[in-house]
Symmetry: C2
Subunit: 923 residues, 2 copies
């Protein structure tokens, strides 16, 4: 490895590196080199390659041969260029030693500033800066920073000495300390250093430098940094580079200053220099917030040539990087130094405007503009946000389950939420957890807060579907339904009190906070238009109501990929019929089974037993009449309601396909589980409490997720599916008669075998044929299935024989493939992610290795039977960009997601087609 170049100088209008060498110079080093190449004034320095870091860890923490000499040479050149020398008592050079990897890892690794200060050089600096206090302050900071970073002394120990001194001299903050106090502190710090390390604080600046460089390389593998890389899935890096750069000072008088600016407004995207600066200050003063920085425009009057310079550099950098830049600069005695540049972070609004503007300015093409916008960020634009100026008292945090801001009065039950919302009151629904019964109340509320559950709990999934702000798993909050209040960290919030939720941040806020409604700009429309031009994957929405369908269409959905019929069952007036239906269906089913077995028995029975069996048959037939008639009555009552729902949805979706899934959840979800509600229903429905409880007990399941649900209900309770099919086909006929175009797609859930689907298919074909004949109208409808069981995926070639389309239900497929219950993974998922066992929550981002493998098998087998089989995905993953990229890659026809995620999906689908080979982008 000898002879290899490890150190790259920069500054003075040229550099040995460039922006393209990010891999080995790190982001910071590459940009410092590039700015030098572009002729921008960058303080001289050099970057030690990340290959050294790689070598170091691969060779038992040894450095490559010759590295030390290379550093010495570069230091010498640096000293020559700066006409100053490290440690020189007359003209001292100070340097910073900073980490910098190819991917940003803010604050994870170590930095040492003001390196080169010694008792001797300190005097020189005092003379140069004419500011004794500043120099001593810099010295004591250097000692503690070095002691902490390089020698591992706990920072708290330095802080404790500082606190004690401030207390003794009654100083009001750090600025209350005079030079003599700082000098005293330096002595104390040095003593601490000696005590902790058993040696003197190094006074040889080259030793300081060697130790600091070593410390930065070491910091690459500190636990925080390792964890950060795991968390953000940062892999494949060589290590960190080390940047050694001469210090410049913005606090050398009124012709010095320090500042940060963006080349465009990061909130709005407007094309103007945006930032702030402080005269006679160092970077850390801006951060400390002791003095208020001035807006960058003020620099125009104060130092016009500097402002001109910044404007010039803005243009040069934007032309070079073809993107908005975030710049740090320092002015030392009227001379501008550029300390850093990088692509600037921005709001979603700004991201859209900048992308569109850059295309118009000819700097990038449309594809580049599309590729550059983080689809996740679009979420910000879809939901109200809190007024950024408003004060907020955050009393707890939870998981940010559904973005947006909401304010309202606290209620603790779905009923009350509905009740107050009907009176135009704004409410926040607070529950330990939600269940399907709470849907109407959730719809009525401004936002939802639960104290249990994860990102894919019932509350989270439903709220995202509705586009409602929602926070879940705020486990510090203790809800007491009895007293109608909740407490958290000693604070008590009662029913009717105002509170606010920030669903994007997961913040639970006391009191009212004003919100700002989002408005979608023309740039948004432009980007969406470009995305639509590029993408191949269609985007549909999951929508259960006409309102959702309307919203989905607004956001550009090309159809409904999942319309869940069960949510309709919870509507006003309906739930009673649904419950009636369930209470008698089980009775009717049992009696029918009994009848069949009696008839069977009769055939085989010897003569002397036959009359007894015949009597039992007569009795059973009589018993069956009652539940059978109630069952039919309930179904007949539900039919027109369901038909009406479908008519409305099909009307909204005129001309677009609507996939309607037949009943999926287990029947017990529709019955109340607590005695109080059971009593209520018992009275309301005139059924004995005992009977209700018997049915609830009979329907109880140990593992409802693996139980009697999905199409298994359609097999055993055929009449319910028949009613739903009838409602769909009748609705479609009625709407078509009005001259609209309808494309209903009937979807059977939880199919595991071809035979199941065959039974449904034959039955639907017959039923639909009868209805269309009666109505005198032909509609185009299809019959398909969800692929959400591993068995369905591996036998997809058979299932495809009965199916016009597949829709991968990735929520359930993920549950079955991993053997994870979404409702129960809270106990171990966070540990799994922290320890890197899983890269992400597989319910949010598709597990391509396992679940994805089954999807690929399913697609391949399905298309082996029917090459043109239409295939989509309708789980939560349909709105996740990296999952969308996967769907694109394996050749799906569409993704379906909640209406609010449709724009995200449109953009992600376009990006997938632009960079086909990438799978998941790193954060």
């Amino acid at each position: 490895m000898t002879g290899r170049k490890y150190v790259f100088a920069f500054g003075n209008g040229k550099a040995e590196g460039s922006a393209e060498m990010r891999n080995i110079l790190g982001g910071k080093g590459a940009n410092l080199a590039e700015m030098s190449n572009l002729g921008l004034p960058v303080p001289h320095g050099f970057t030690i390659s990340a290959e050294v870091c790689d070598f170091y860890y691969k060779n038992n923490r040894q450095y490559p041969e010759g590295l030390r000499e290379e550093i010495r040479e570069n230091l010498k050149k640096l000293e020559e260029n700066m006409q100053a020398r490290l440690g020189d008592p007359e003209n001292p050079l100070l340097v910073s030693v900073r980490s910098g990897a190819a991917a940003s890892m803010p604050g994870m690794m170590d930095t040492v500033l003001n390196l080169g200060l010694t008792p001797d050089s300190l005097q020189g600096l005092v003379r140069k800066t004419n500011n004794e206090r500043f120099v001593w302050d810099a010295y004591r900071r250097f000692i503690s920073m070095f002691g902490n970073v390089v020698m591992g002394i706990e920072r708290e120990k330095f802080e404790a000495l500082l606190d004690a001194l401030k207390k003794r001299v009654k100083a009001n903050g750090d600025t209350g300390l005079a030079t003599k106090h700082l000098q005293e502190l330096v002595e104390k710090y040095k003593a601490l250093y000696e005590k902790e390390t058993g040696g003197d604080f190094p006074t040889d600046p080259e030793t300081q430098l060697d130790m600091a460089i070593n410390a930065v390389f070491q910091s690459w593998n500190n636990p925080r940094a390792i964890k950060y890389r795991q968390l953000y899935n940062i892999t494949g890096l060589l290590g960190t580079a080390v940047n050694v750069q001469s210090m410049v000072f913005g606090n050398m008088g009124d012709h010095s200053a320090t500042g940060v600016c963006f080349t465009r407004d990061p909130s709005t995207g407007k094309n103007l220099l945006y930032g702030e600066f402080l005269i006679n200050a160092q970077g850390e003063d801006v951060v400390a917030g002791i003095r208020t920085p001035e807006p960058i425009e003020d620099l125009k009057g104060l130092m016009p040539h500097i402002y001109e310079g910044l404007l010039k550099y803005k243009d040069i950098l934007e032309k070079r990087y073809r993107d908005m830049q975030d710049i740090e600069f320092t002015i030392q005695e009227n001379k501008l130094y550029m300390l850093q540049c990088r692509n600037g972070k921005r709001t979603a609004e700004a991201a859209l405007k900048i992308a569109v503007d850059l295309v118009r300015e000819g700097l990038i093409d449309k594809n580049a503009a599309l590729a550059r916008i983080d689809p996740h960020q679009l979420d910000q634009l879809m939901h109200p946000v809190f007024d950024p100026m408003a004060k907020k008292e955050v009393i707890a945090t939870g998981l940010p389950a559904s973005p947006g801001a909401a304010t309202g009065k606290v209620v603790f039950s779905a009923e009350e939420a509905e009740h107050l919302a009907a009176k135009k009151e704004k409410v926040i629904l607070v529950r330990k957890e939600t269940s399907p019964e709470d849907i109407a109340g959730m719809y009525a509320a401004q936002g939802i807060l639960t104290t249990r559950g994860g990102m894919t709990s019932h509350a989270a999934v439903v709220a995202r579907g509705m586009g409602k702000p929602c926070i879940v798993g705020a486990c510090a909050i203790d809800v007491d339904y009895k007293t109608q209040r909740f407490s958290v960290n000693g604070k008590v919030v009662k029913r009717g009190d105002y509170m606010s939720l920030d669903g994007s941040l997961g913040e639970v806020i006391l009191g009212r906070v004003s919100t700002v409604e989002p408005s979608l700009s023309g740039d948004f429309a432009t980007i969406m238009e470009w995305a639509d031009e590029v993408r191949r994957l269609k985007v549909r929405a999951n929508a259960d109501t006409p309102e959702d369908a309307r919203k989905a269409r607004e956001f550009g959905a090309q159809g409904i990929g999942l319309c869940r019929t069960e949510h309709m069952f919870f509507g006003e007036n309906r739930i009673d019929y649904v419950r009636q239906m369930i209470l008698v269906a089980a009775d009717a089913k049992n009696l029918k089974a009994k009848l069949l077995s009696l008839q069977d028995e009769l055939e085989k029975a010897p003569g002397d037993r036959q009359s007894a069996i015949r009597k039992e048959i007569t009795k059973t037939k009589a018993e069956l009449k009652h539940p059978q008639s109630l069952y039919t009555k309930a179904l007949n009552a539900l039919l027109p309601m369901q038909r009406g729902d479908f008519e409305k949805i099909l009307t909204v979706m005129d001309g677009l396909p609507v996939t309607i899934r037949l009943l999926d959840p287990p029947l017990h979800e529709f019955l109340p589980q607590d005695a109080a509600s059971q009593t209520l229903i018992s009275k309301k429905m005139k059924v004995s409490l005992k009977d209700i409880q018997r049915t609830v007990a009979r329907l109880h399941e140990f593992n409802p997720m693996l139980g009697h649900r999905g199409c298994r209900l359609g097999i055993t309770y055929k009449e319910i599916y028949d009613m739903q099919v009838r409602a769909i086909i009748e609705a479609a006929c009625n709407i078509k008669k009005k001259g609209l175009e309808v494309y209903p797609e009937i979807m059977i859930p939880l199919v595991g075998t071809e035979k199941e689907l065959k039974i449904f298919r034959e039955n639907i074909l017959q039923l639909a044929g009868e209805i269309m004949k009666k109505k005198g109208v032909e509609i185009h409808y299809t019959i398909g299935t969800m692929i959400e069981l591993p068995r369905a995926a591996v036998t997809a070639d058979r299932i495809a024989r009965q199916s016009d389309f597949f829709s991968f239900g990735t929520n359930d497929l993920t549950q079955m493939t991993f053997g994870f219950s979404r409702d129960d993974i809270g106990n171990f998922l966070s540990e799994y992610i922290e320890r890197g066992i899983l890269p992400k929550d597989p319910f949010q981002s598709l597990d391509m290795e396992g679940v994805g493998m089954l999807i690929e098998i399913g697609v391949k087998k399905g298309r082996s039977t029917k090459p043109a089989l239409k295939i989509g995905i309708c789980g939560e993953h349909g709105g996740d960009p990296s999952s969308i990229a996967f769907c694109h890659r394996i050749g799906l026809d569409y993704v379906s997601c909640s209406p609010f995620r449709v724009p995200i999906a449109r953009l992600a689908a376009a990006q997938a087609n632009i960079k086909k080979t990438e799978t998941a982008s790193t954060v």
Copy 2:
């Protein structure tokens, strides 16, 4: 199709068909032809080919051209041979018309006897038989049989007329009716026939024949027959053949008789003629049980030449069929007629003896002997049976979950079962359902009865493992724990009453029934020896205790494929420590997590918040001490107990591998869920009831099967797995030091990702290394995993990197692949099987299409990484013959099943190697 031969004559020492033509002649027809060919005296007749049935259903219920003529020709030949004519008033020929498919479907299709009787021919028969009453009785039977079978008149209507007549004339049974009564009945039957069909009863015998033949072909697709074929998986048949055969009469005086016999004793297998006969009787008289038949030996004295004939035919038939035959015969006026022969049904004991004897007699080879024994039947030999002579009052039936017979006193709790068993009392444990807490009580009981659950419920699985008779799901029984009694159909059984269970039949029996202990014959050993010579697949046992291990070895297990450690947790003294461990583990875990997050927070916190955080850290550390020490204490108490268990098991299994699975079930399974038991524990363990209930609530899961279990416990509660690994390795070291050979295989359950297994592997390697070093002994151990999640199967190539072996946990794999919970499928499984959606319960017989596909993928991928990877299966399916054949075919190394199924598996593994290409044999 014209020109094809559809009708095949037989009789008179020759036939147009043969035994090889079973496909088109059906079993009955082929054997009648074969017996004719062999020169045996078979009443003349002809068989109409099953191809006609096939044609009939494929051609809209039309018969092939020319068939009628072919039948007429054969009828003519028949009449010539018999020197009698259908319908002839002087010398009438009567025929039977019988169905007969290639596979036996007893009683499913229709038969018409005595066809040819008319008012005219009746007179001729009276003359011939000299028995007027018999002829009129035959006539009235013929009318009702014809009316029912051919015209679909309900049998009950004929029976009602008979009953009314008997009542009127005060007849005691059918024999109480005189000829005149029968004549009256004939008139009544004819009137009924006219009323129901609107036509006269046919007096033309050829019309009768056409109609009867047509009815038999129709009966092929009657609902019962369709269901039967579904149930027994009978596919690929052309249809039924129809046998038209001249009737012979055993009731023509003292030189006539009818009888059935076996060519060897079907209970013992002894080589002698075994059967019975009735002088002057017809076949139905034997069935009706009015007269007691005589043993076949008595025929020797009565009709020596007939007996000689039977002996001769026995030899001829056995030589031809190379198996024991079941024969029906009739003697008409001193002449022997053979009416039927087929392979005889036999007990397991007989099956073994006959197979071994036939090999010794040189009639078959060893492979044929092995292939011929139904492995399922061996179950009979492993368990006690009721004395066949004993009287039994069956009061209810349930699912036959685990075979064998048991008698004892009723108890309703596991504790009492243990208590009484300790006093040498025999008890039957009756529960609504069982849970892991009941294990010790189940072990102590003679048999187990539950009123809920299915064939794979907890009770069923555990009982099969123990080889205890068990009946589950006896839902007619109403158990009342409070009063310690159960009631069923008006009968009440109290605690302490005697009762009996027939686990093979699912019969719940009142009172004591004497049982006969099984003894394994030399033939059994011989067959097992032959099986071991032939099979490639190894057979291991699932065994959790030294007793089970011993039994497994006795039955020939070549190792333990699954030793579940959790069952050990329920043992005496242990469960308290386990509960202690669980109650504090969650506390300790939460506090540790809190501590980590506080330390994290401290790093990032601004100066003014740090001291508050530091205080909290100190507090948390103090709080943590208590549960941490209790946790360690409980684990330390459990360690020697687990080590002791493993020492015993490893000792028993000296020289053979033992696969030990680390803790699998969710922790809440170990805590009591009802308030009463919680209170008990609270007192016993000195933990507040509230704390216990809090932990129970915290551990509650919505879908425990998909929850915090398996290796997920090992990730979050590392200490528990560490304790178990330590126990295994220490035990192995200790036993090896005693000079025994130990091969422990540590198995990690529910692995879904490579990373999980990697963590355990590294940890086990380190821990084991330390222990072996300390003990100064090297043992050979391996680390592997269960493949029981679909994700594990599809990523098996990665998982194999960390694994020395795979064991497919097909119970869970079936659950996840289908999305079926074993505990909940009762609601729909029976309907799924009845309707043919599933061929069998997939938890009993492996679903090869879906689950099997995943297993194949897993095997292929696993071996792509490690070609020599050892792979087995340890679910319930490991003891199911058709599943074993599948395991053989896809190249597994071993199957593992409950000890009592080991012989079954040995035989099934041999059969699989004999007939490699077959998958599942039809019944």
